[in-house]
C-alpha cells in the first residue's frame, strides 16, 4: 500500500480566517468599537475640547439653560463671556466640561475594574479548576462573595475606607471576581480532560507550563467577552454609587455625581440629568454591543448557549 504522505488527502493549504479578522467584520464590533474609541478620545482630549475647570463654581451663573450666555472671571481677574453649551448646575459649574471630564472617571473605573477582576479571577479560577483539593475551598468562598449584593458590598467598602476613585474601583471589582472565577473554572474543567492536555502530562510537562501553554489560551476569548460586560456593568455601578452619594467625592466630575447634583432641580432644569444620562447610556450600550459582537465571533459556542 502506498504511503500516506503521497496518497493521503492533501494538506489543506488555506487556513480559516482568524478569529480577530472575523471580529473586525462584525457590525456590532464595528459600531460599539467606534463609539468606544470616540468616548476614549473625548476623555483623553478633555482639556482641549473647549472646556473650563469642571470644578469651578460660579455663583453668578447658576442653573443656566443650555445655550445661555454668562460671564465668568478668570484667575487673573478678567471677565470673559462664555456659552453654557449644556447649561450650568445649581452651583454654576459648566455641565459640558463636567460631562467631558466625567468620561475619564467612567472609563478609568470600567477598564480598571475589568482588568482587576479578570486577572484575579483568572488566577483563582485556574487554581480551582486544576487543583481539585483547592476547588471546594475556593468555590465556597466565591459562593459566599456572590451571596452579597454587589451594591451593598460596595457601600460597606466605601464606608470602611476613605471615599475615592480607588475605593470605588475595589468595591466594584470584588463582587465581579466570582463570576470570572466560575467562568474560568468551567473552562479549565472541560479542557483538563482533553487528550492533548493528558498527552502533555505524559510528556512530563511541569504543571505551571501545562497551565500556561495548554489551558490558559482556551480562556482568552471568553475572558475578552466577559471583560467587556464587566466594564459596562462597572461604569453603571460607579454611576449608581455616585448618584447615591457614596461613591467618588461629589466635587469630582463623574456622570453619576452630575446626575445626583441635578436631582433636586430636575423638574425645572432637566439638562442636569439629560446630558450625562445620554453619555452614560450611549457608552454602556456601545460596550454591550461590542461585547455581543465579540462573543459571536470569538466564542460561537457561548453565543449558542446564551
Amino acid at each position: 500500500m502506498a504511503d500516506l504522505a503521497t496518497s493521503g488527502p492533501t494538506i489543506a493549504a488555506v487556513a480559516r480566517p482568524g478569529a480577530s479578522a472575523r471580529a473586525l467584520r462584525n457590525p456590532g464590533v464595528i459600531a460599539g468599537g467606534v463609539v468606544m474609541v470616540l468616548v476614549v478620545v473625548i476623555g483623553l482630549l478633555a482639556p482641549w475640547l473647549g472646556t473650563i475647570d469642571p470644578t469651578a463654581i460660579n455663583p453668578a451663573a447658576r442653573n443656566r439653560v443650555p445655550g445661555a450666555e454668562y460671564t465668568m472671571r478668570t484667575d487673573s481677574g478678567e471677565r470673559i463671556k462664555m456659552i453654557a453649551r449644556f447649561g450650568t448646575d445649581s452651583l454654576g459649574r459648566d455641565i459640558y466640561s463636567r460631562v467631558v471630564y466625567g468620561a475619564r472617571i467612567s472609563l478609568l473605573v470600567g477598564v480598571v475594574v475589568a482588568l482587576i477582576s479578570i486577572v484575579t479571577g483568572l488566577f483563582i479560577g485556574l487554581m480551582a479548576g486544576f487543583f481539585r483539593w483547592l476547588d471546594a475551598v475556593i468555590m465556597r468562598i466565591m459562593d459566599g462573595l456572590m451571596a452579597i449584593p454587589a451594591i451593598l458590598l460596595a457601600i460597606a467598602m466605601v464606608s470602611l475606607f476613605r471615599a475615592g476613585v480607588f475605593a470605588v474601583i475595589a468595591a466594584i471589582a470584588v463582587p465581579e471576581i466570582p463570576r470570572v472565577v466560575r467562568l474560568v473554572r468551567s473552562i479549565v474543567l472541560s479542557v483538563r480532560v482533553e487528550p492533548y492536555v493528558e498527552a502533555a502530562v505524559t510528556l512530563g510537562t511541569p504543571t505551571a507550563k501545562l497551565l500556561w501553554r495548554h489551558v490558559l489560551p482556551n480562556t482568552i476569548a471568553p475572558l475578552i467577552v466577559q471583560g467587556t460586560f464587566t466594564c459596562a456593568s462597572a461604569i453603571l455601578v460607579e454611576a449608581i454609587l455616585s448618584f447615591l452619594g457614596i461613591g467618588v467625592p461629589p466635587e469630582v466630575p463623574t456622570w453619576g455625581n452630575i446626575m445626583a447634583e441635578g436631582r433636586q432641580v430636575f423638574s425645572l432644569y432637566p439638562h442636569n440629568i439629560i446630558y450625562p444620562g445620554i453619555m452614560l447610556a450611549a457608552t454602556i450600550l456601545a460596550v454591550n454591543v461590542l461585547g455581543d459582537g465579540l462573543r459571536d465571533t470569538l466564542d460561537p459556542k457561548m453565543a449558542k448557549r446564551v
Binding site: D3, L4, A5, A15, P195, Y196, A199, V201, T202, G204
Partner: protein, 539 residues
Amino acid sequence: MSTPVLEISNLSVAIHGGGDRAHAVKGIELSVGANEIVCVVGESGSGKSVTAQSVMGLLPKGLMSVESGSIRLQGEELIGKGDAALRAIRGQRMSMVFQEPMTALNPVERVGNQIAEVLEVHTDLDARGRRARVLEIMRSVHLPDPEHMIDAYPHQLSGGQRQRIMIAAALVLDPALLIADEPTTALDVTTQAQILSLIREMQVRKKTGVLFITHDFGVVSDIADRVVVMQLGRIVEQGPREEVLRRPREPYTKMLMASVPSMTPPTRVPATGAVTLEARNLFKTYGRRSFWQPKARVTNAVNDVTLEVRRGETLGIVGESGSGKSTVARCVARLVDPTAGTIAIEGRDIATLSESQVRPLRRRVQIVFQDPYRSLNPRRTVGEAIIEGPMNYGLSREAALRRARQLMMTVHLTPDALERYPHQFSGGQRQRICIARALAMEPVLLIGDEPVSALDVSVQAQVLKLLDEVRRTFDLAVLFITHDLRIAAQVCDRLAVMQRGVIVEQGATADVFANPQHPYTRALFEAAPGRHQEFGSGR
C-alpha cells in the same frame, strides 16, 4: 417487477460556500425494493449520509441543496415537495433511525410518549388506542416488560434499549422505507448483533425496504441483500451482496475489503525479551463509602488486574465499553492513580509514587489516544508538540527539532509538516504525528488507547502498519486497547479479555481465537459482525 420503494436517479447535491468539492454527491443512481436491505457503504466524506438526508428532506439548510435528479418514494416524486407535504410523508411512509440513540431521543419525555407522538401526528387514534399500539410495537421489538418501560425516561434505558425504542418509533406506522444511518456504530458489539438481527426480523415481518448506511463491511456481510459502495460523493460499484463481497470489480472496493483485518490471527513467535511492564493486582475504585456517605456507590472500574508485557511484544486488551480497559491503560500511564496494586516499569514500581516523583519517569511510558482531533493542541504547531516532551527533559531546542525531523520521516510525513498546525492534517496524519510525539520521548512502553477506532478502514490499515513498524524498529513493548476483535487478531501477540473490570481470559492471540475458554469471550466472537466472511485477503 413491481415499483421499487425508493428510486433515486441522477441525484446531485451541491455544497454552498466552498469546501474541498462543489458537490456532496453527484449522479447517484440507486433503488431499494420492498422487503430488501440495501447497504450503502463508504468511508467518511463519501456522501452516504447526505444521500439519506436528501431522501428524508433533511439536508442542512443553507449549506447543501439538491441540484438535480429525482427521488421517488413508491413512484411519487419527493423533490420539489413543500415542507408540509414532506412532513406528512415522514414517519408515515418513510422513517429514519439515527446513530446516537441518546441524542435522538428527547431526554425529558417518557419513551412511550415519544413513540405515541408519531401516532398522534399521523393517525386519529385516541390516547388509549395509541397506548395499545405503542405497547404492541414495543413488544415486537423485544423490549422487556413494556408495561413498565413505556413510562421510562431515555436515561433509564441501556444504549441497546434506546435504539430499540428508536426502531419502534420508526416502524410503528409500518412505513414502506426505513433509513438507518449507522444505527449500530455507537453500540457495543454484542448489542450491535442484537440490533442487526432485530432490524432484519422487523424488515422481513413488515416487508419494509431498508436503506442501511454503514462504514463496516462486517455489518454489510451480515445484513445486506444488495450493496452500494460510495467514494467521494459517487457510487463506485453496486450489486447483490455475494457478488460485491466475493467478486468485487472495482479497485476501490477491493482496497476497502483488503483493509478490513482478517479474523484469523497470523502465527506468531512468542516474545522472550525482558519484562517491560508488570502490573500486579491492580485496582481502581471510584467512590468510597465513608462516615459521611455510608451509602455512596462504589464502582470497581479495574478489579484485580494482573498482566505483563515484554519487550517487542504487543498485549491487546479487548472488551466492550465500561469494561475498564481504558482505565487500565490510564493507570499504567499514571493519568489516574490506581487504588491498589503495583505497576512495575522495567522493575521499578510507579503505582504509588507522587506526581513529582513520577514525572522524571514519565518519558518511559507514552500513550496514543483515540481521538486524533483532540489529541493535539490546535493552537500549537506540530513541531512544538513534538519537541515539548524532549525539551521538558533538558534537550536543547535545536537537538529536539533535529530529532523531530527524523521522526517525521519515520512516520512517513515530510519534515515541513513541523511548521503546520494540526487542523491542516487529516485524521490519519494526525495519528502519525501523535505516534511521532510519543516516539520523541524514547519510551520503553507504548500504549495505544483505541488508536485507530476513529479512522476510516483504509487509513486504519496504514496506521496499524506504522505501529507495527515502530514496534520492530524501537523494540517497544506495546499495550494495545481495542474493542475490535479483527484488529486485535492482526496486531496482538497476546490478548487479555476484560469484562466489568476483570480480566476473564488471557492468552496467546491464536489460542484465544481458536479455543475461547470463557463464555464472555465466546459471546464476543459470536457477535463479531461478518465473522463468516473472510476479509483482508489483500494483506
